[in-house]
């Protein structure tokens, strides 16, 4: 090995690979399902981000008009303090979206690394596998309760719960890809050629592991959104008066007779978010299957 400059070619190769991969994922969003899903998501994210501009009155504009029926002015009606439920739902999206946008990618990166660690050290891979087993043994909300106890309720505890809850999903996918790829003849061929482990990982294993992981990111986002709702409903999540979809439900369910929209509104938002991510996951999945089916 004399005149080579592995870093240069290697980096070039990686860029190409990632570019090609990302291109495929972006192409997936061009499919009808992906288009609707990502369109919906963009709409929701924009609404959440620009809520202060769209609704300059803010999240807490109260009035004496409690429990107004839905109308053009108040699409979801008003709550017990005369606040517009729709506006509060839109603001509440900020919490849900910020949570999953921060937590899920962290979980994806960490989980993938943990899952792939088996390639570096079998023992390490096994150890992480056991960790995943333990996490999976904990039903999701029980896990949330444990984390709330340690951290205290709030955004951080929710984010941590989502990360911990999602870790094994990514870890197992990555490990599954690792195990199946490791035995593939093209990986063996690279080993016989003497290609280094990191290069094998980046060129041969990672690209194939990424497909399911991208789909899972989308699915974990749904999971994260629902975890926030669940923990906030029982009062262990976001603490009032910050509106989140879960805290709105926490209060809304108490007024379910007086104002059904108080419960229905946040649920509509939750389902819209879930739908958006689901459509994106479907589109990604279809795209992946298409590429796979050589």
């Amino acid at each position: 090995m004399t005149a080579t400059n592995p870093t240069e070619t290697h980096a070039g190769g990686r860029r190409r690979l990632m570019g090609e991969g990302l291109g495929r994922y972006i192409a997936a969003l061009g499919q009808p399902k992906g288009l609707i899903g990502s369109g919906l998501l963009v709409l929701l994210v924009l609404a959440a981000v620009f809520a202060p501009i769209l609704f300059p009155g803010g999240v807490d504009q109260q009035s004496r008009d409690s429990f107004l029926l839905p109308s053009l002015l108040h699409p979801f009606g008003t709550d017990e303090l005369g606040r517009d439920i729709f506006v509060r739902c839109v603001y509440a999206l900020q919490v849900s979206i910020s949570l999953v946008i921060v937590a899920v990618p962290i979980a994806a990166v960490l989980g993938t690394l943990m899952g792939l660690s088996g390639a570096i050290s079998g023992l390490l891979g096994e150890a992480f596998q056991r960790v995943f087993d333990i996490i999976l043994g904990f039903p999701s909300l029980v896990l949330g309760i444990c984390i709330v106890i340690v951290i205290g309720p709030g955004w951080l505890a929710l984010a941590t719960t989502i990360v911990v809850f999602s870790l094994p999903q990514f870890g197992r996918l990555a490990r599954g890809a690792l195990l199946s790829e490791q035995g593939r003849e093209y990986v063996l061929a690279a080993r016989v050629l003497g290609v280094s482990r990191p290069k094998i990982m980046i060129r041969h294993i990672l690209p194939n592991a990424l497909d399911p992981i991208f789909v899972q990111v989308s699915l974990s986002m749904i999971g994260g959104i629902f975890i926030e709702a669940a923990l906030s409903i029982v009062g262990l999540g976001i603490q009032p008066p910050t509106p989140s979809l879960g805290t709105l439900l926490n209060v809304g369910i108490r007024y379910v007779y007086a104002q059904p929209m108080y419960t229905a509104g946040p649920i509509i938002m939750l389902l819209l978010l879930a739908l958006a991510f689901n459509l994106i996951a479907d589109a990604l999945n279809a795209q992946v299957l298409k590429t796979r089916g050589e």
């Binding site: 109260q62 004496r64 429990f67 017990e80 009032p240 008066p241």
Partner: protein, 515 residues
């Protein structure tokens, strides 16, 4: 499907409000007299539902979960009549005060026995009063009892209390809360394994967080008062579920929310009662910490808050906007005092400007106990309106209590207190918000002096002393009372003969199920 009878409820604002008013107007606000006059027949098990769990460990403290059963299992020496406010004898037979009021002798029944069969003696009374002083028992009366110089059994059925200040009438507040405990089984209170009193019912079975069962005490000293075979108390934490239980599953629901009470409007089988006693919602301000070291700003808060909106929107119109810490019918109370702080955002802004606190950040610690967070949302909104920047943090009850004990609740805090019905003289030491070690850190000499003056005031001197203290407290504005809300109970028609004392504790002696 039991629920069908309720019909579909869909209310707009007007209906809710008018419902609230109708509710308030239609309520039977009854005093000490027994509810109903029918000829009582013995038998039957009374089924009650309440929101908070029993806390036998804190039997000497005013806790919501204990109000339903405290006076069934235990007897007090005296209770205060909810109409007249005067003491009625229970275990006490007679009492007398010395000339200067500093020595007080109470004589007790000689025919009362604990559920274990042991006869009640003066030693038990002394023991109970000593327990009131123990911090772990968390009695709000502890400061009063600690002020006594001695508590002695001066006979097998006589107890003498001496103090530097007049013992009566505040001692009746103590007696009402300090139900007489059995010294032999006292330790069983900690986990509810043995809860023994002299009351008309025996404590049989407690499933923490779920249910409590009482059984008639056949050896009660007033056997004709025990008409029911037993009492079953269901603990239902969800208010709607609790209200729903009224549909055939329980005979009485205690302390339901006004919102849920609407369900029973126009239901002939269910009677709604506005009971005596009330909850008050203080907004405390730490006078030692900026920005509330400025009195103008503290006062501004009082004017900023729209109390009526809180009553309308959080309590469906049930409640009154008094800014006093005690009942409005305390001697000497004036209309001006009750409405001293009223919604006047202009005035509030002026005061804020005077304090130079425009745009000041107000960190609020809010106890996470419904409906306080809901009140906070209006408070927050009101404070924003007058140009302040409220930053609220809702914390769990446990954390709040810890902060309160540590005097560490931050510059402003919102909580909830019961005990309405006790005399003002008692409350100023019993309410955590007002006692000497209050979380507002409000401890000027004059405050103690005015309290002492009130507590030593005998007869006609009481009213002026109260006015002076009240006006001082209002002016200093270290703790704003936002409103008083009376408890709402629902009961079936057949359930009659029960009473509430003036703090709103239930008494089932004489109650029956066949009215």
């Amino acid at each position: 499907m039991v629920e069908r009878s309720g019909g579909r409820l869909r209310l707009n604002r007007r209906q809710v409000l008018s419902g609230g008013i109708a509710l308030a107007g239609g309520l039977a606000v009854l005093g000490g007299a027994s509810y109903g006059q029918g000829a009582p027949q013995p038998g039957g098990t009374l089924r009650l539902a309440q929101g908070a769990d029993a806390q036998p460990k804190n039997i000497l403290a005013g806790r919501a979960g204990n109000n339903t059963w405290r006076h069934q299992v235990f007897d007090a020496l005296t209770v205060l009549d909810s109409e007249t406010g005067q003491p009625r004898p229970v275990l006490a037979t007679e009492w007398e005060s010395s000339e200067d009021g500093r020595t007080f002798v109470v004589r007790i029944r000689n025919d009362a026995r604990f559920h274990t069969g042991r006869p009640l003696t003066a030693e038990d009374v002394v023991f109970t009063l000593e327990q009131v002083m123990v911090p772990e028992n968390a009695s709000q009366m502890a400061p009063l009892v600690r002020a006594y110089t001695s508590i002695e059994a001066t006979g097998t059925h006589e107890v003498t209390i001496t103090s530097d200040t007049p013992v009566a009438p505040r001692v009746f507040d103590v007696f009402q809360l300090a139900v007489i405990l059995d010294m032999d089984t006292f330790s069983g209170l900690a986990d509810g394994s043995q809860v023994v009193g002299t009351g008309p019912f025996k404590w049989v079975d407690w499933v923490p967080g779920a249910s409590l069962r009482l059984e008639r005490n056949d050896d009660y000293w007033a056997p004709d008062q025990v008409l029911l075979d037993g009492v079953e108390i269901s603990i239902i934490t969800d208010s709607t579920a609790m209200a729903n239980a009224m549909r055939g599953r329980v005979d009485m629901v205690l302390a339901m929310t006004p919102r849920d009470a609407i369900m029973f409007r126009g239901n002939p089988g269910v009677e709604l009662i506005e009971g005596p006693g009330a909850q008050i919602f203080p907004l405390g301000l730490n006078v030692t910490a900026p920005p509330f070291d400025k009195r103008e700003l503290r006062q501004a808060i009082g004017y900023a808050i729209d109390r009526q909106r809180i009553i309308d929107q959080v309590f469906n119109g049930v409640g009154n906007a008094s800014c006093l810490w005690w009942r409005s019918n305390e001697p000497g109370t004036t209309e001006e005092m009750v409405t001293h702080y009223h919604y006047d955002p202009e005035r509030a802004r002026e005061l804020i400007a005077a304090a130079g606190a425009e745009g000041a950040q107000v960190d609020l610690t809010v106890i996470g106990l419904a409906p306080v967070p809901a009140i906070y949302e209006i408070v927050q909104n009101n404070l924003r309106e007058v140009g302040l920047n409220p930053m609220g943090q809702v914390v769990e009850t446990a954390a709040f209590d810890q902060g309160q004990t540590a005097g560490d609740l931050g510059p402003a805090f919102q909580q909830i207190h019961g005990l309405q019905g006790f005399s003002a003289a008692t409350l100023v030491d019993a309410l955590p918000a007002l006692r000497d070690t209050n979380p507002s850190k409000f401890t000027p000499e004059r405050y103690r002096e005015l309290k002492d003056a009130l507590q030593s005031a005998q007869g006609d001197a009481y009213a002026p002393a109260l006015v002076e203290l009240g006006q001082f407290m209002l002016d200093e504005a270290f703790s704003h009372i936002l409103l008083h809300t009376p408890p709402l109970h629902a009961k079936v028609q057949q359930f009659q003969g029960f009473t509430f004392n003036n703090v709103g504790f239930l008494h089932l002696a004489g109650a029956h199920l066949n009215g």
